[in-house]
């Protein structure tokens, strides 16, 4: 009798333990705004989409390409990429996945009404879609295009029968949020939470949790408090101010990885004579724009104590850098140095350039966009002033800042850039000459322009040999960085915090997803 009771007790305890381990509650800092995977290209939306839908090419936590709905991809001809699809895949509603669904998806992307940021740039190089058989699809391009598989890591595949004519609203209501991903949609309360349950037919690794509540808590302190109170098991975007405290707390563990977001300073390369926020020491405008002089740019870069910013402003959750991508990521330049902090050297260079007494500049930046953004430019302002460039600092809200930066209203300003793990991404967007016809330099807000670099970029963009292409890109990155096209500062560390009993695989691309959480002992 006693034994029996004990056995029942044990069974109950085990049952409770198992039930507990089946549920996961996570809180993210940035709200998901739509469950239509093609409506708004935005990290939080992509994170939510990658729980419900899947892509031809998936990425692992270091942003390397992995087979997804496609098992393999090869350039069968210089302008034709062939994808072999995974057989036997079904959507959550039981419909079969075939090459025709890929064709449907690619056709839908440019035609999502009212999209404020569409995925069209990823499908524009495709000139023709050829469905060879239900499990083979060929994508034709006008010129050789090595980036096509990487572009496919952004495209979530929908089902033609289910999603023909589907509106964004019907995705948001949850009705049509049907994919092939690791979780199925249960309920969506816009801006508040998404409830999911495990898709047992998922082709990839089986998620550890059967039910997931994906909550959005935008206030940093409230998110940390919810974790400490045990209301949520995992949070992302741990504020740097809380990191030291959480490290000491044995109820939680932190999971970190060097990310893909570079914080950098952009400089006015556009104006030859006089930049709007640069004057001489008496406040009179300068006849020439000193930032056009490489010596001045190098001086400004070496006047910045990057390790001090990382340690004191970022509380250690960043890596000082002199280049675009972190170690271990494609196109990282091996051994390229972080510019050495040297105030005296900066003064010498400024004197050589004809500014022995420096000049005055206003450094602009956002105050609500990147971790500690306003404090970073304050620190840099002090460092520049110490090197003889008297710096005023002006931080403003992103909504105002980004528009003005895009109209070239500033002389020097802080920005961040989340990279694709490929050197062509920062080069094409931030460094290449601004050119509407080629679509290059679209985020080149300082209007740096180096025709030699553009020519090299054009050559590499048609090179289908991965190894020689990476070498080309590394040489171009060197060219841009030696010329101080922008001043890289640091690469952010992505930090998650989990309650005891949970562990997160941290991702370089900042996505927070339920399939990356596992029970820990």
């Amino acid at each position: 009798m006693l034994w029996k009771a004990a056995a029942i007790g044990l069974a109950l305890a085990a049952g409770i333990g198992a039930a507990h381990a089946q549920n996961l509650t996570m809180a993210v800092g940035a709200p998901v705004t739509s469950l239509d995977p093609h409506y708004h290209q935005l990290s939080p939306n992509n994170a939510a989409a990658s729980m419900i839908y899947s892509r031809l090419v998936e990425t692992d936590n270091l942003a390397r390409m992995q087979p997804g709905l496609a098992l393999s991809w090869t350039a069968v001809e210089p302008t034709v990429w062939e994808f072999k699809l995974r057989p036997g895949i079904r959507f959550h509603n039981g419909r079969e996945f075939t090459a025709d669904d890929v064709a449907f998806t690619l056709a839908r992307i440019p035609n999502v009404p009212n999209s404020p940021a569409s995925f069209t740039t990823f499908v524009r190089p495709i000139t023709r879609v050829e469905v060879v058989d239900p499990l083979t699809i060929r994508l034709h391009t006008a010129t050789p295009y090595p980036l096509l598989p990487m572009d496919m890591t952004n495209i979530f595949i929908l089902d033609r029968e289910t999603h023909e004519g589907a509106t964004t609203e019907r995705f948001n209501s949850g009705e049509l949020a049907v994919g092939t991903g690791p979780f199925r949609m249960v309920r969506h309360a816009n801006g508040d939470r998404i409830e999911l349950e495990r898709n047992d037919q998922y082709f990839g690794e089986r998620p550890a949790f059967a039910r997931v509540a994906y909550r959005m808590i935008t206030n940093d302190s409230a998110r940390t408090a919810a974790l400490l109170a045990g209301d949520v098991d995992v949070i992302d975007q741990v504020p740097t101010a809380d990191i030291a405290r959480l490290r000491r707390d044995n109820r939680v563990s932190l999971q970190e990885i060097t990310g893909l977001r570079m914080i950098y300073l952009s400089l006015d390369h556009m104006r030859e004579d006089g930049s709007p926020f640069i004057t001489d020491n008496d406040g009179r405008p300068l006849p020439r724009n000193p930032l056009k002089d490489l010596r001045v740019r190098r001086a400004l870069s070496m006047a910045i104590d990057r390790p001090a910013i990382v340690e004191r402003v970022m509380e250690g959750s960043a890596t000082a850098t002199g280049q675009f991508l972190a170690q271990g990521i494609h196109s990282h330049i091996p051994g390229y140095p972080v510019p050495r902090f040297d105030t005296e050297g900066a003064r010498r260079l400024l004197a050589e350039a004809g500014y022995p007494n420096g000049f005055r500049i206003t450094l602009h930046g956002p105050n609500d966009r990147y971790p500690n953004d306003a404090r970073i430019i304050q620190a840099i302002g002090q460092m520049w002033t110490r090197a003889g460039v008297r710096t005023a600092v002006e931080a403003q809200t992103w909504a105002t800042f980004v528009g003005r930066a895009g109209r070239q209203e500033f002389s020097a300003f802080l920005l961040g850039w989340g990279m694709n793990p490929d050197g062509s991404h920062p080069l094409r967007n931030l460094i290449a000459c601004f050119n509407r016809d080629t679509g290059l330099g679209a985020s080149n807000r300082g209007r740096y322009c180096n025709p030699q670099l553009d020519a090299g970029l054009a050559a590499s963009s048609q090179n289908l040999d991965p190894a020689s292409r990476e070498q080309q890109l590394i040489a171009l990155e060197r060219m841009a960085l030696d010329d101080v096209a922008v001043i890289p500062l640091h690469i952010q560390t992505n930090v998650w915090a989990a309650r005891r009993g949970f562990t997160v695989t941290p991702r370089a691309d900042e996505l927070t997803r339920a399939q990356d959480v596992r029970p820990a002992n």
Binding site: S34, Y39, S115, A117, T120, G191, S221, A225, R436
Partner: protein, 324 residues
């Protein structure tokens, strides 16, 4: 009366137009929504497509004309961010905000009235002085700080109450409400208290002032002389008369709470309208900002109208006149 209502309606229409115009100009002055919403690696062609898709390629006056034309047909536009009708987004979140606002109102009356009454009846007592000193704290402490402290104390340290979010909901009148479930009540308690602190102080001070003034009135003295019990004097003669200012102020406070409980909602991750409007302002989601503010203006106009009408019922000396 009819003339009065007509005039009020016309004034309201004017306020609505002015408000929408201000929001249009304001958002235009702050920045460009496309710059914020667009994916960073979009090329120039894609940016231009997005500008056209959101109707931002037209001159501002034409954008406004398009808006007015649609608004007259009852369509206040679609959110840039959610691609859903702005009004629908706001209405979806309204129940959460309403129950929070009424919850805090309820708490402030429940706590504020008795304390204020006591402080008014025994102004020199030690307890009264403590109450009055406490009410100063309620006025002066910033609500986001108090909110965080409440979370730290009751959720993190003591673990009595959930820290954030809205709990389980139950269906009533076709809408989901959380005050109908135990879990929902546990979730609403902290944010409602946070939101009510200021109002508790307000009620205490109004009640105390009212009681002290009324206690000196002739009819109270007369009632006392007549030998009525202190209980009857307080709750029949005094109480009725101090309720008029309390009700007026609370009515307006209710409007303010519904419209601008932004701080509390974001600290407690409460999925209400306040959180929607602050998120929308951050990304310059103009249709939502316009629709929200127009709705709030409408709400205040209606509350004021109701208050005016209620006055005439409460106090026969007040007349609603057509002439100003």
């Amino acid at each position: 009366m009819a003339l009065y209502l007509l005039r009020r309606l016309m004034q309201s229409g004017f306020v609505l137009v002015a408000m929408s115009l201000l929001v249009f100009l304001g958002v235009y002055a702050v920045g460009d929504p496309v710059e914020i919403l667009i994916s960073p690696d979009a090329d120039q062609e894609e940016r231009e497509r997005a500008v056209r898709a959101l109707g931002l390629d037209l001159p501002l006056w034409q954008q406004y004309a398009v808006f007015v034309g649609r608004a007259l047909q009852g369509d206040l536009g679609r959110s840039f961010v959610f691609n859903e009708p702005a009004i629908q987004l706001i209405l979806q979140r309204m129940p959460a905000t309403l129950e929070l606002a009424f919850g805090s109102m309820f708490i402030s009356i429940l706590i504020g009235l008795p304390l204020g009454l006591y402080a008014g009846l025994k102004p020199e007592g030690r307890l009264s002085k403590t109450i009055m000193a406490g009410s100063i704290l309620g006025f002066s402490l910033p609500s986001f700080w108090v909110g965080l402290m409440l979370i730290m104390l009751f959720a993190v340290q003591l673990g009595w109450l959930p820290s954030t979010g809205r709990g389980e909901t139950a269906l009533l009148f076709g809408t989901r409400w959380s005050f109908l479930t135990a879990d929902g009540l546990a979730h609403i308690l902290l944010p409602a208290i946070n939101l009510s602190l200021f109002k508790i102080s307000l009620v205490i001070r109004l009640t105390r002032a009212g009681v002290r003034e009324t206690m000196l009135m002739d009819y109270v003295k007369f009632a006392r002389a007549k030998g009525l019990t202190p209980f009857r004097i307080t709750f029949v003669h005094v109480f009725k008369n101090i309720m008029i200012p309390v009700v007026t102020v609370l009515g307006l406070e209710l409007g303010g709470t519904i419209a601008f409980s932004v701080v509390t909602e974001s600290v407690f991750a409460w999925p209400g309208m306040g959180k929607l409007i602050i998120d929308s302002i951050n990304v310059l989601d103009r249709p939502v900002i316009v629709a929200y503010l127009m709705m709030i203006v409408l709400m205040f106009i209606i509350i004021n109208l109701v208050v005016d009408i209620v006055y005439t019922l409460l106090d026969p000396r007040v007349r609603l006149e057509g002439k100003a």
